[in-house]
Symmetry: C2
Subunit: 93 residues, 2 copies
Amino acid sequence: MSQPRRLLPSMPLLAAFEAAARHRSISAAAGELALTQGAVSRQVKALETQLGVRLIERRRHGIALTPQGLAFADDVRAVLALLADATGRLGQN
Amino acid sequence: MSQPRRLLPSMPLLAAFEAAARHRSISAAAGELALTQGAVSRQVKALETQLGVRLIERRRHGIALTPQGLAFADDVRAVLALLADATGRLGQN
DNA sequence: TAGTCTTACGACTTGCGTAATTATT
DNA sequence: AATAATTACGCAAGTCGTAAGACTA
């Protein structure tokens, strides 16, 4: 049977989560992405809601990753890198 | 120097192009994705505009891929597969 | 007080269906 | 006629900044 094609999370959500995971900080991620704290906070939450999985734990200062968040962050990093490479190769022609 | 982070094409654009490339047909891609012909046509065009690269050649019946389109389709397929795997792994917990 | 995350609100951007058009067989 | 791709139009959904709030050191 062909899978119903699970609907994939949007690019901004993935980028926001990846940056937040790497910095262990919503506000640092916002700085890097040139967005506001609020935007990144919403995006990470939206991603968790879509996936039905808790990815980060909200802490007093900064954030911590859940085990699932840790694994997913690595995967997302690979996805973004692969895509960046692909578009990069197109550009230089 | 850190790259200004080239802005990545959105997920619907990538999915539409990948399906169109695989089927060599806009309308077949639309069928698979449960979208209209018009939507897929616009998305492929938007992707080409964003990337500044021609990916498909419009033909009398169906479409053909440019060399760049062919290479990019493979890359996009890998990206989507990687992401689908990643989200799939999250689900089964 | 300063640093952090969250969230309601409104504006803007993106994605999409409808439906008309063009072109090919 | 049937099949395939494109596009103008309007609506729906997604994204974002602002601004206010809560919590901690």
